[in-house]
C-alpha cells in the first residue's frame, strides 16, 4: 500500500520539474477523480446490505469519533495557545 505514496512522490517530482508551466488544470483532474472514487465508494456502500442496514449505528460511531478528535485537537491547541500567548503576557506584566 506504500506504492500509492511512492506514486504521489513521483507526481511531486514531475510537478516540480514542470514548475515553469502553470498546470492549473490539474485541480480539475483531481476533482474529477474524487467524484469518480466517491461514486464508486457509494456503489460499494449501496450494494452492501449490512452497511445499509447499520447506517444509523455507523453514523453515530462517526459522530462520536469526530467529537473525540475535535476535543482532543482543540485541547492541544489550547495548550499551545497558553504557552505562546497567555504565559508571555503574564511574564511581561
Amino acid at each position: 500500500m506504500f506504492i500509492i505514496i511512492g506514486i504521489m512522490f513521483a507526481g511531486m517530482l514531475l510537478g516540480f520539474l514542470l514548475r515553469k508551466q502553470r498546470l492549473s488544470w490539474i485541480h480539475k483532474v483531481i476533482t474529477v477523480f474524487i467524484w469518480l472514487l466517491l461514486f464508486l465508494l457509494g456503489i460499494d456502500v449501496g450494494s452492501n446490505q449490512e452497511i445499509i442496514n447499520g447506517l444509523h449505528t455507523i453514523g453515530l460511531e462517526a459522530v462520536i469519533l469526530t467529537l473525540a478528535a475535535v476535543l482532543g485537537s482543540v485541547t492541544a491547541a489550547w495548550a499551545l495557545w497558553y504557552m505562546v500567548y497567555k504565559r508571555n503576557r503574564r511574564s511581561e506584566a
Partner: protein
C-alpha cells in the same frame, strides 16, 4: 461549500445506484478504484510540486506556531485513542485511521475503503465531513473556550481552503498565514498517517 455538496452528491448517487442495482457491472470485484486512486495521488503530487509559491509565503510565520500542526495531529490521535476504548467493536488502529482524515473526507474515505473496506470507509467519510461542519458551525465558541488557535486545530486539513474564511472571521486576520501553513502540513500528513494506521491489523 458548493464543491463539497457536489462531492457528497456523487457519493449519494453512487449509493442509490448500489441499492437499486442500477449499474450491472460489479465494481467491488474490479481494480478500477485502485487505479483511479493511483491516478488521483499522482495528480495531487503534481499539484503540490508545481506550486512552490505556497511554501515561500510561510517565511512570515511566527516560529512558535510551527508546532500547531503537530498539536492538531497529536490531540486528534489522543482523542481517538481514548474513545476507541468505548467503541468495543472498533480496533485502536481503525479509530486512529478514521481520525487521521483530519476533515479531509474525500481522500481519507477513499484510502480507508481501499485498505479496510467500505464500512470503515463510510465511517471515515461521515466522520470527516462532520469535522468540517463542526468547525464551520462552532468556530466562534471554540475561540471563546479554547483560544484563537482552536478553530484552526479543529479544522484539521481544511484550514487552507474551506474553513479559512470562518477562521479569519473568528480568530482574526493575523491568523491567515498560520491557518494556511497548518492546513498544508496536516493535509500532507493524511495519506501517510492513514496508510500507517491501516497497515496495522
Amino acid at each position: 461549500m458548493k464543491g463539497s455538496l457536489i462531492i457528497i452528491s456523487f457519493f449519494i448517487i453512487g449509493t442509490l445506484c448500489g441499492v437499486y442495482h442500477l449499474i450491472p457491472y460489479d465494481f467491488t470485484q474490479s481494480n478500477l478504484s485502485y487505479y483511479a486512486l493511483c491516478a488521483l495521488m499522482f495528480s495531487v503530487g503534481i499539484s503540490v510540486g508545481n506550486d512552490p509559491q505556497t511554501l515561500r509565503n510561510f517565511r512570515s510565520l511566527n516560529p512558535r506556531l510551527i508546532f500547531l500542526p503537530v498539536m492538531t495531529i497529536l490531540g486528534t490521535l489522543a482523542g481517538c485513542a481514548v474513545i476507541s476504548l468505548f467503541l468495543p467493536h472498533r480496533s485502536l488502529s481503525d479509530c486512529l485511521a478514521v481520525g487521521s482524515g483530519f476533515g479531509y473526507y474525500s481522500l481519507s474515505s477513499i484510502f480507508i475503503t481501499e485498505y479496510k473496506g467500505a464500512e470503515l470507509g463510510t465511517i471515515a467519510l461521515l466522520s470527516n465531513i462532520s469535522r468540517e461542519i463542526i468547525t464551520l458551525l462552532f468556530a466562534p465558541l471554540l475561540v471563546r473556550w479554547f483560544g484563537n488557535l482552536a478553530p484552526i486545530s479543529s479544522g484539521g486539513a481544511t484550514t487552507m481552503d474551506t474553513t479559512l474564511p470562518i477562521i479569519t472571521r473568528t480568530a482574526g486576520e493575523s491568523f491567515v498565514v498560520v491557518s494556511i501553513f497548518h492546513g498544508f502540513v496536516v493535509d500532507f500528513s493524511v495519506p501517510f498517517l492513514v496508510t500507517l494506521f491501516c497497515s496495522f491489523p
